[in-house]
Symmetry: none
């Protein structure tokens, strides 16, 4: 029919992402996913064979899409200054527009880091353009050339990612401490980008 744009399979994946992101793996209900996808519960098992299988499929899909978006960033030769400007911006905007992605990955990161690690590793291996080592090599070179102060690429990236991602998970915490509500609108994220870029550039560039 004309109004059925997406396949059942895709509808299930979309509904599952929402449910898993909202309640975690254990808290998610297969029944709820099926209803939200507008299909019979059994179809879900027909396509994904188990709740766990569906979960992994969602994770896979969502991570692959994410990496596809991030990969362009690192390909061209960059100065560390450019990198520290573009990465947080992209990262924060990506997360801001995909809250379900952030939550899903957050859950998994806490609960079974090994799993998400291997999923990511798998995706990275499959993306020939995005080899992990190049990036870390580049960072090392930056340091060797005296462009950045941090010698260890792992610490370097941790600083970058931490500042970029924290707003999405830790915001409530800072809200509680400060006693003030912070709207998670575009405005907030714009200010967040500014602050992060500023700290990173002043803090890590030589």
């Amino acid at each position: 029919m004309a109004e059925k744009i997406v396949s059942s399979r895709d509808a299930i994946l979309a509904a599952a992402l929402r449910e898993f992101a909202a309640r975690g793996f254990a808290g998610a209900r297969v029944e709820t996913i099926a209803r939200a996808a507008g299909i019979n519960k059994a179809m879900l098992f027909y396509y994904f064979s188990s709740k766990e299988g569906l979960y992994q499929a969602v994770l896979q899909e969502v991570m692959a899409e994410f990496f596809k978006k991030v990969q362009g960033l690192i390909t061209p030769p960059l100065t560390p200054g450019e990198f520290l400007e573009r990465f947080p911006k992209l990262y924060i905007e990506l997360c801001a527009s995909n809250p379900d992605f952030v939550r899903l990955v957050g859950f998994d990161l806490i609960q079974n880091p090994d799993n998400i690690c291997s999923v990511m590793a798998g995706i990275i291996t499959r993306m020939s353009e995005f080899k992990p080592h190049p990036l870390f090599e580049v960072i090392r070179r930056w340091h060797a050339q005296g462009q950045i102060s941090e010698a260890d690429p792992v610490q370097f990236m941790m600083n970058v990612v931490a500042l970029s991602i924290f707003s999405f998970i830790g915001r409530p915490m800072v809200e509680a401490i400060s006693g003030m509500r912070v709207a998670d609108d575009g405005d907030f994220y714009a200010r967040r980008v500014t602050s992060v870029v500023n700290v990173l550039k002043r803090g890590m560039l030589k």
Copy 2:
């Protein structure tokens, strides 16, 4: 009895923290908690009346203890330089020695931020010495006096907390990207403290 060092109640709380931290609220099993605490499942309901009640009790206890440890930091008059040195150190060390705490709070932050917010707010209100506003007032003053570059105390704290906490949740992610395993031993956390303090001081102090 004399040979029973911890009360059943405390044993339950301890076991519950482990279980909730490991599997989240929905994934945790009351049965497992009871067995780990060495008591009968019914006792758990006798003391805490429901799984939810037990969960809140654990959260309460664990957060209160955490804040008690953090509060000392801010009481004395500090320079921003001192603050940016001491806070990440304490924070990272605290988290490193209480992984269950980090995971529990992480879960809750993702799943129902409102809940953990109100728990934290409650604790803070009860701790007369640790009023949130003082800290934020202090930060504002630091900026007014030209000591730090970040005008917004929320952004300021987000930067601090983000860099401090990320190692615990995001580490696997950076591992996957970099393709290198990072041991989470004392050594690693020492290096992490150094890097974070360095970035924060260079990035935010004027």
Copy 3:
């Protein structure tokens, strides 16, 4: 098509026999049968309209073939000695080369004897040459003429069939009791025939 040697229908029947014999009616899976037959599940219903229908078709086919093979035995005028020699031999050899048949019938015999009875009765009625009564009449005559000691033809046949068929179902039991494995090869069945024929002739002939 030319390359398709067996019709779908026959492929289904063959696969179904294997599956029903291996797992019984309730344990058999329509899906498994279809896959084994190399056809789509829906085809199975197209041909046999239900799992039950397929089961009955298999039973029918398999029993009909069996009786066809047995019937020759009784047609010619026989002495009881000849009968007691030939019947067990044929029976045991038939069962040894059709293990699925034995299991299928065994299941049905235990679970709904009425069903298999009526199937057999139906087949027998349709085979004009193999009227049951003749055989029983013959046995009665043997007794009347003082050739066999057993007066009741039912008991007579029970003894014959029991000794012939038991090896196939009860063998594991005797193995367990005796603690020794008995290979179910041609050799074993040859020895079994000898023993059975011996017992029957000595035990029932006058």
Copy 4:
């Protein structure tokens, strides 16, 4: 309460035997067993942890009881004549009064002989008085002393057991062939014992 004679556990076992014997493992319904036992479905899993576990427990119990009853037979020093008289009688009477036992074991014998074998072997090992080898040793001695004609104790026992047990499983088959209904009452079994003992003694004693 006074009217509750049996424990839930025993009630479940009894109901399960009936259901498994009637429909086989795959056809049996946990729900049905629970209802018949007058307990909640969940209790069944509380005691036996799975349908499979319950099945094995039933098998175990039923087989152990059976062997307990049979074991007395072989302990005293017997002549083969005595053995061939008493064993079929006991065996047939036992089976006649425990039809569920026969069906259950029959199913298992057909479906997974290995399982029932190991169950039986386990029971036999646990019954120090009933070592399998003694019986087979005795049979061998009988032959050595010229008392029986069958040299192979396995064949000997197969003949004995086959004739004893067949009435219970194969009766419908003979009924179908003969076209006559055979009542499975005490009378029938008495006649069956007579016939079997007669065949065995004439057929195997020297």
